[in-house]
Amino acid sequence: MSDPMDFLLWVKGPMFSAALAIFALGILVRLSEILLLGRRPNFAEPRGGEWGPGLRTVLSRFVADSGTFQRAPFDVLVGWIWHLGFIVALLLFIPHIELINSLLGIAWPGLPNPVVDAVAAVTLAALAATLIHRLVHPVKRRLSTPEDYLIWTVTFLPIITGYLAYHRLINPYPLALGLHILAAEVFLIVLPFTKLTHIFTAFIARWYTGAAFGRKGVTP
């Protein structure tokens, strides 16, 4: 695999399948581990419904309450910027859409490359800022474990390698592209075994909390 082309074919072929399989199986296990635990029956007379407030909370927690925003504007803003940037770069970059189209047969309009390029640059800067914040903020430092730095790294790598490949800063190009795809695969493989699972489970968490508060007549 000393040849960059062989490397690219490997990451696009067997490695890609393996990553997808580990990701899919891993997520299935994680979601089953959670949902199969269930909840105990609740005998208290409800004051409100569960489903509506649960679903509302799934959406409402995207936005911080004003007090939290005032106390932690950096977390809220930078958190928003890099999450949004990551999603834009992932889903609105035309080559990514073409890949998804070839896999699933669905497509949607993308953004012009220079726009995605700018978004990626901002996302990288925002992610770098979150790392610095994690290293200096007393609460984040106290909470952080090696896993937090691991998931920061596996989140940062697909974007930085994509950025470098797009700007032809790694040569030859098959190597650059291969590294980018490998970074994405590492992300997929690590996802189910780390707190990257929040990509899925946060919605379940929000629903449960929204449902519990909603049942008591509180809009969470």
Partner: protein, 427 residues
Amino acid sequence: MSALSLERGLQAFRGEIDAPVAAFFSSCVHCGLCAQACPFYVETGDPKYTPVLKLEPLRLVWEREFTLWGRIKGALGLSRRVTDALLEEWEELLYDSCTMCGRCSMVCPVGNDLQYMIRKAREGMVASGHAPDGLIGASVRAIETGSPMGLKWKTLEVQIKHVESSTGLTVPIDVADAEYLVLLSSMEIINFPEYLEALTRIFDHAGVSWTLSTDCFEATNAGVQIGSKDIAATLVERVVAAAETLRVKSVISPECGHAYTGVRWEGPNLIGRAYPFRVFHIIEVLDRLRTEGRIRTEGKEGDRLSMHDPCNLARKSGVIDEQRRLMDLVAENFVELKEHGRYQWCCGAGGGVSSNERADELKRAAFKRKKAQIEEVEPERMVTMCATCRTQLEEGLEDFNMDIPVVGLTEMIAAHLVEKEEGDNHD
């Protein structure tokens, strides 16, 4: 509470882990925003008081025993075990520095209900013998005497006599088939006897059929605070038995926060069945009487009043508009604290903190958040509807030499009732 052990504690932790807990721990990304919602962190600046960190013992059990990855790590000897030393260290975090106010549960971006998990984690703390002495004492007194403060019916009886002589009314006792069974809190009986008098006046004015029960007058539940389902269920059973014996339609929880959530939301699940009666906080009952036009008031308080929402009532039970409608009835110069209702800040004393003498310094520290809120709007008096909050506000404001009296909403309503005319009949 015999044979407490680490193994029993671990078993209790295991028993508390359900789908929401697993979803919550799976989702936490260590952003630390829960710290910004916690008065104990905000006022001390010590990162160990970050709410999600307080859950580490429960999280360790979940990771090690409820996830595939954790089991693999455990088998390889790579994961941390919950030990007595760890639980000893966490006792302060789970009890002294948490009032279970639930503010963190409101702001967590991934939607974790941290307060729900703190309540659960305390089950493991009790079972492993790591609960604070102050709360153990309150629990033992509650089980043995019926009151966490060791108060007996005789004490209440004396107070009832006082109320009857000052109002000229009869306080109904053990009246079968009454509409409401009224519960009280020991804190109220000792610190705020005006509550029972206010209630007696209002219910007479509105023609409400109510009763006290000699079998059970205590609404508070030390078991809910310490985190022992066994103790909590025993105490709830007493309320249920009294209500069933007297065949009342509803039970009224007094101006006390956790008593309400304890009997209203936890109670039926503690005893494993729905109640044959309904449960209301006194504020809900007063607001309903107001809606029905059964409370007629005259005159209004003219000074600048603000209000402290008890966490258990507002954020944890959705009773938010009721107290404001009642305030409108008797106050013309009411100003809201900036963050109120479901985003209000805890007084710092609930969730067992006030029964835990060791936590006194932290309790005072946490109050500084409330104090800052009060200073922002400069009220002449504060109004609230929980005896623990009220005591904490009174003591805290006095500590800071702030001359702001604290009043209970029920007694404020009672002070404005239209005098009954001769022959007035509300039946």
